[in-house]
């Protein structure tokens, strides 16, 4: 059984929580006691309908303000697959959560209120989804009931978004438009009779047929970041030395020639194991232990790669960065750069440009105050104390991103994408 990870995004009041509530409700993922709790909470709020949005707004502050503050993870499944939704806040101040929630997902559902059409948030979400190279964008045009299920209105919105797509979409990204009503469940799980002009699939059917990210990662160059060296030193496993980790991308086979980075030493894969079971092969996202024919220098933070597929060694990196912290990015300050599991000291040497999402344009003059602020996205040059072995994010997302940690407070302050 596979897992499809989805990010949902939308502005305040686009009906995102209701949409998710609907999906849970219709796939029988809500139990009776939760529905009863929902009924009484809806009544307390003076509503005469079941407020499905109350299912996802979990924090006290969220219920008070009627908005989503933090990323919530929501689960449901069909006989076909398990779904994990990262429900990310649409509110402007919390854009960093959108990046957080959308990382690792295969699908991004962008919600648009049919009455309001494309707004600044829509562009922002589309841009971020594309920046993260999310392959499938599903544009759910919601509240169709409030525009009389008008095909004309739907097409207007579609065309507006297609124009934006020309600027932000990447090759291979797939865009689908679905007219829906979360409140009445139109075109979510059941095909609506209100939209005879719509020939596409329902939302759930669309999701059932999307390819997961894992299947794509498995055909990339093979990368194995070593988390731990396992040395039991027991009588039975006296000379055992295994490298534990999760395969980031590609696949490895027993007998493959591999190079250890940074030492550059080469050996052959002797075994690929899972809890003592010896496998022929391991592929992306699998946690395994690899043993080698020779004793070479490999420790935590190092990477095993296939000979012939070595990544570049980089000490100066050009990257796109999204800033996640209230304290702005400071040129010249030393941060800790974490690439996968490997940490090195790093210094941002230059902020090259900032993206102006509102106007979909690049601001090529560096910002006046020299930094990048919370929720801003820019291009930087960063220098590391020792080399990292990253791929370009667009070529191999599993080995092409890094986070920056501020050593003053240990916070995760930025997410970078290697260019």
């Amino acid at each position: 059984m596979d897992i499809l990870r989805i990010a949902t995004a939308g502005s305040v009041d686009d009906g995102k929580s209701t949409l998710i509530g609907r999906l849970l409700y219709e796939t029988n993922s809500i139990t009776k006691d939760k529905i009863e709790a929902l009924e009484s909470a809806s009544k307390r709020k003076g509503l005469d309908f079941l407020d499905l949005s109350l299912l996802t707004d979990g924090l006290i502050a969220e219920r008070e303000q009627g908005i989503t503050i933090d990323v919530a993870h929501i689960y449901f499944s069909t006989p076909n697959r398990k779904y994990i939704i990262a429900d990310t806040p649409g509110h402007f101040e919390y854009t960093r959560n959108m990046v957080t929630g959308a990382s690792n997902t295969s699908v991004s559902i962008i919600l648009i209120d049919a009455r309001n059409g494309v707004v600044e948030q829509t562009k922002r979400h589309f841009y971020i989804s594309s920046m993260l190279r999310i392959k499938n964008i599903v544009v759910a045009v919601n509240k169709m009931d409030l525009v009389g299920y008008s095909q004309e209105r739907f097409n207007e919105i579609k065309n507006e978004l297609l124009a934006i797509a020309e600027q932000v979409s990447f090759e291979g990204q797939e865009l689908q438009f679905i007219p829906i009503s979360s409140l009445y469940g139109e075109n979510l799980v059941r095909k609506s009779s209100e939209t005879p002009w719509y020939e596409g699939e329902t939302l759930l059917n669309t999701l059932e047929n999307v390819a997961t990210q894992n299947s794509e990662l498995s055909v990339k160059n093979a990368r194995f970041p070593v988390q731990q060296v396992i040395r039991p030193k027991t009588e039975e496993f006296h000379d055992y030395r295994g490298y534990a980790g999760k395969i980031a991308s590609g696949s490895f086979f027993v007998g493959d020639l591999v190079e250890a980075l940074p030492s550059g030493q080469i050996s052959k894969i002797k075994t690929i194991e899972k809890f003592g079971t010896k496998l022929e092969t391991g592929k992306a996202k699998e946690s395994v232990v690899i043993t080698l024919e020779d004793n070479i220098d490999v420790s935590r933070g190092n990477m095993l790669v296939k000979v012939g597929e070595q990544p570049e060694s980089r000490k100066e990196i050009e990257a796109k960065i999204c800033w996640l912290d209230g304290q702005m990015l400071t040129v010249g300050k030393t941060y800790l750069l974490q690439h996968g599991i490997n940490r090195v000291k790093a210094k941002v040497t230059k902020v090259n440009s900032l993206i102006d999402i509102k106007n979909m344009s690049l601001n090529n003059t560096p910002p006046a105050d020299g930094g990048i602020k919370l929720n801003e996205i820019g291009w930087i040059t960063i220098k590391t104390a020792s080399p990292i072995y990253a791929d370009k994010y667009e070529e191999n997302p599993a080995n092409g991103s890094f986070i920056l940690i501020d050593e003053m407070n240990n916070g995760t302050v930025g997410i970078g994408f290697v260019e």
């Binding site: 979990g58 689960y75 039991p232 496993f237 599993a398 240990n410």
Partner: protein, 311 residues
């Protein structure tokens, strides 16, 4: 209720097998814990979730031993079956077990025993837990909590940083991007780690079945003295203050979750094997935490407990 409560389709829940990707993810997290922290511990309650975590740890480091100690915060109101199970597991895997008692925290005057009909030591565990963390200098505590359990849990990170007082601040959580985990902390702070965050109750049961794990007997049907209160079945025990009209009777029940005896309700059941248990969950009309009396206190009961340092 109006139109919205009408389902537009009938969708059948499924009984497909366990998604192995979840195991790979959890093992990755546990290996990060072993590498990023000096002294991690597994919070072990003897329930199915912490049993799953121990299994995952066993797999993550094989053929080496589990590099974590177990910490059990004993409320004194445990089901004896759980304690038997705990000792069996510790012995079998050769683990190091630390037990600290809520009873001691009460004697030290650090926490007040609740009184009345709904008296429970569940919330008091927090004090004992925080003291134990300080005593053993644990910098990471691994727990079996899952995001599908409860609304406040749905917002929880994999690495959840707590301050000196063990407090959770939902608004100051570190963003977690892709699978990069940042466990850097200051002295005194600690991290709660939730490797099975993305599992559902059904995933846990399917895993237990596929891995053929032994679990405490109270998860299966057995005859027990119970009484009814607030529409729930309570296990009769000396720790619960019953009123006169709450008269115990014998019936076949099992538990879906194993907490303190004062805060865990039973369900009427004849399930005596894992297939039947899984079948019950698929058709269940009540959620897992719906059988947790401690969550019924208010809509935000869990969030408030977490802010105070609960796991």
């Amino acid at each position: 209720m109006s139109t919205i409560s009408e389902k537009t389709t009938v969708y059948q829940a499924n009984d497909s097998s366990f998604p192995r990707e979840l195991e790979d993810e959890a093992i990755y997290i546990l290996r990060e814990v072993a590498s990023q922290f000096e002294k991690p511990a597994i919070l072990f309650s003897g329930g199915k979730d912490s049993i799953t975590v121990v299994r995952l740890a066993q797999k993550a480091f094989y053929p080496a031993k589990i590099p974590f100690a177990l910490l059990h915060v004993d409320t004194g109101h445990n089901f004896p079956e759980t304690i038997e199970y705990r000792d069996w597991l510790v012995n079998k895997l050769g683990l190091e077990l630390h037990v600290r008692y809520v009873e001691d925290s009460i004697k030290q005057g650090k926490v007040k025993e609740e009184t009345g009909k709904y008296a429970s030591r569940n919330a008091s565990q927090t004090v004992t837990l925080l003291d134990a963390i300080e005593e053993f200098k644990f910098d990471a505590c691994i727990g079996g909590a899952r995001r599908d359990e409860e609304k406040a849990r749905a917002k929880e990170r994999i690495f959840s940083v707590r301050d000196d007082f063990g407090q959770w601040d939902a608004k100051k959580q570190r963003p977690e991007l892709f699978d990069m985990l940042n466990g850097k902390i200051e002295l005194g702070e600690n991290v709660r780690v939730f490797p099975i965050s993305n599992w559902t109750e059904l995933d846990v049961w399917n895993y237990i079945k596929e891995e053929e794990l032994r679990i405490p007997s109270i998860y299966f049907t057995h005859e027990r003295d119970v009484f009814e209160r607030d529409g729930m079945i309570w296990a009769d025990s000396e720790f619960i203050n019953k009123s006169e009209d709450e008269i115990p009777y014998k019936t076949q029940v099992r538990f879906r979750t194993v907490g303190d005896m004062t805060c865990t309700a039973a369900v009427a059941s004849t399930a005596d094997n894992l297939d039947d248990v899984i079948g019950e969950i698929l058709s269940a009309q009540i959620s897992e935490r719906g059988a947790r009396i401690d969550d019924k206190r208010s809509e935000a009961a869990m969030e408030k407990r977490k802010q105070a340092g609960y796991f």
